[in-house]
Each structure stands twice: as C-alpha cells, then as structure tokens.
C-alpha cells in the first residue's frame, strides 16, 4: 500500500457502487421517492424532522434534486447546496446498473483508489455536516420554514 493511502474505511461510495443489488434497491427507491414528491404525493418523511421539527443534514435534498432536474439551479441550491453532488452520485449508481461490468469495474476501482488517496468522501460528508450546523445555528428560522414548505 502506498504511504499516501488511507484505510479502506474512508471509501464508502465505491463499495456501494460495487454491490449491484444494493445499488439497484437504492436507485429504485430514490426514483420512487423523487416521483412521489414531484407529484405532491406523500413519500418518505425524515423521521428526525417529523418528531423534533429540526431538519436533519439531508432534509430538503429530494426537493433540491427535483429542482435541479427541472433546471432551476438557484432554487435547488437554496434548498440544499449538496444537491449536485447527490445527483452526480445517483447518475453513477444508474450507470453502474446499466453498463456492463467490464466497463464499470475498472471505473469503480479507480474511484476506490481516488477515495482512499484523497479522502474526498470524508471531506464532502464533513462539509455537509458543517453546512447543516451553519444553517441550523445562523439561519435556523429560515431553514426550518424552507423545509416545512
């Protein structure tokens, strides 16, 4: 292992992409959720927000992704700044499911190495938590009202 490489625990995305069954269920459920919310039908609700009234770090992501898919980048970023990253991950999941293993496996291996060498997933997840804390501490009323709709 090269000295720059960090433990495998910091690469959570590539194992997710490698497990096709899990990827299929995640992509399918996310698709159903996006369809339900787009049609203003009741879908998955955040259990944390429902009981406490405090948005969780992922609250608003579905609506932000829907707005992004509609091309409204500004409104999407207002809901959740990490929507483009989530959409990118969703696209990667769909590609993994659609493309043959001969193409996806080398790409996943490269992503795995990149995750381990740079730790970019850790940076994104920590960034997301900090973003949530900042919204909660400095923009709490606007944040809660935005999520409530």
């Amino acid at each position: 292992m090269p000295p720059t490489m960090l433990p495998n625990a910091i690469a959570p995305i590539s194992p997710l992409l490698r497990d096709r069954k899990f990827a299929l269920v995640v992509a399918g459920t996310a698709g159903v959720q996006i369809a339900l919310v787009s049609l203003s039908l009741p879908g998955w609700e955040c259990p944390f927000f429902r009981v406490t009234g405090i948005p969780c770090p992922g609250c608003g992501l579905t609506r932000a992704v829907i707005l992004l898919l509609k091309g409204d980048l500004q409104a999407s970023l207002r809901f959740h700044a990490f929507a483009p990253i989530v959409l990118l991950t969703a696209v990667a999941l769909i590609l993994v499911l659609l493309l043959p293993r001969s193409i996806t496996q080398p790409a996943i291996s490269r992503l795995d190495r990149l995750e381990q060498q740079t730790g970019f997933t850790v940076i994104i997840l920590v960034g997301l938590i900090l973003y949530w804390l900042a919204r909660l501490l400095f923009l709490q009323t606007a944040f809660v009202q935005l999520i409530r709709g």
């Binding site: 625990a9 959570p12 269920v25 259990p47 009981v51 992922g58 997840l125």
Partner: protein, 94 residues
Amino acid sequence: MLGLLAMLVGIGCLICFIIVLIKLFQNEGALKGILGLICGLYTFIWGWMNSDRLGIRNIMMIWTLLIIIQLVLNFVFGVAMIPGYPPRPAPVVP
C-alpha cells in the same frame, strides 16, 4: 386523536431509525453511519438488506408497518404532526 396517533407513529419511526442507525455505525463505520444519518432511506434499505444477519428483522417489520401507517394517515386524512409539513397545495380560490 389522529394527531396523537401520527405523533406516536412518528416517535416509533424515530426509535426504529435510531436503532438501525446505531447498527449501521457499529457495522459499517462512521462514514456510512453519517450517510445513514443524512439519508434515512439508505438506513432503511441497509437495515432490510442486513436484517437477517444482524437479527433486526422484527425492528424492520415494525418500522415498515409504521411507515405504511404514516403514509396512510398522510394520504387519507392529511394528518401531519408538524403543522404545514408535508407541504400541501394551496386551496384553489375562485
């Protein structure tokens, strides 16, 4: 009455979510745990896919049942524990 039921269902869902989330942190590490914290759906799917291995099948069944009850309450009665959530379309005024 329905509001109270919605509240109890919501609390039940949260308890199941926390139990599965703890299992996720213990078995998959902090990063996937954070992923599960951000996306409850991920935790729910992971819980079902590992329910036999971790012996949480009953918890997953209870959680699923509670989600179905929650969906029915939302869809049929429009009951929401938090006022204004989930957002409802504004009534059409002539």
